[in-house]
Symmetry: C2
């Protein structure tokens, strides 16, 4: 049995359902951060995933044929997460996207979420359709948005930084940043 369980991104964001799945697991896998967030619920063995790659995923799936295995996913498994990479049941968690929308008081139904973290940003034309919420690292080039109003949120639940201004006047300084661009 394989459950891919979202553990949120801040302390205390694990749901009751998620905590039960974690505490019932014989083996728990996760990043160091995910294991820390879930630590008080883990009763079985646990292992840090060091390499997030195909081979690791197939090994975990094989193990889950015989054991009750949980793979932790920081945030939500279906937001640029492990849910599409592993075969198994997905239990949702609170994502950084939700935290950002909560801070900004903007609705997901007026927004398009884009993953530009460690990858090229190729959907600039969507800005004509809706607000954009972009998961980004420090290499992201804000100048593409010119004089538009943007917000940058960095290290949510950590040493949080929240800036609002014109795109061409702001800089990103964290590899865990969210950029919100108003249409």
């Amino acid at each position: 049995m394989l459950n891919i369980v979202g553990v949120g991104i801040c302390e205390g964001q694990i749901t009751e359902r998620a905590s039960k799945l974690i505490s019932q697991a014989e083996i728990v896998f996760g990043s160091r951060r995910a294991l820390k967030l879930a630590s008080k619920f883990i009763t079985g063995e646990f292992f840090e995933i060091s390499k997030f790659e195909e081979r690791t995923y197939r090994e975990i799936e094989a193990l889950a044929e015989e054991k009750n295995v949980v793979v932790l996913s920081t945030g939500d498994p279906m937001v640029s997460g492990l849910g599409t990479k592993l075969k198994g049941n997905v239990e949702p968690g609170i994502s950084s996207v939700q935290m950002a929308l909560a801070r900004l008081k903007e609705d997901l139904c007026n927004t398009i979420v884009i993953d530009a973290h460690a990858k090229k940003f190729e959907e600039l034309e969507l800005i004509d359709k809706r607000n954009l919420l972009i998961l980004a690292d420090r290499n992201f080039d804000l100048s593409a948005f010119g004089k538009r109003k943007v917000a940058v949120l960095e290290d949510i639940c950590g040493r949080e930084r929240f800036l609002v201004g014109k795109a061409d006047e702001l800089r990103i300084s964290s590899d865990y940043s969210i950029i919100f661009v108003w249409k």
Copy 2:
């Protein structure tokens, strides 16, 4: 003090942070369903909101100037929820959008979320850009998507129904439906 707190859509989806905010509140407001989901955490007074309208929201905001008030929001307050309607701090919850993406194993970053619940669907052209996830009621006309592959999820966490087929061959029978249309 006013906290708008997401309580998820199924039993057991309330986070630790949300449960603390609810239990510390002197007064809790919510729909019947939201109050039921949160009932075991409520220690103060509680009132069912019967009319979700401006006047109610302003009355709650006025009360929150003197009391510790929580307004419950089923799902997440920033997914077609109360987060944009009330002034206050938003605590995220698990939304039906997340439940649907988990079932379908589809990532939010490849999807556009559209609210067509009790309102007109006007963003058909977005289907050329990405997968669409549409919050819908039984009046939604699936034929707009012709022969495209769609999934219909109804009453998640209730008497759940999950159909996959061609758009022009499926029918919606619940006012709490999610339609997923593959690009």
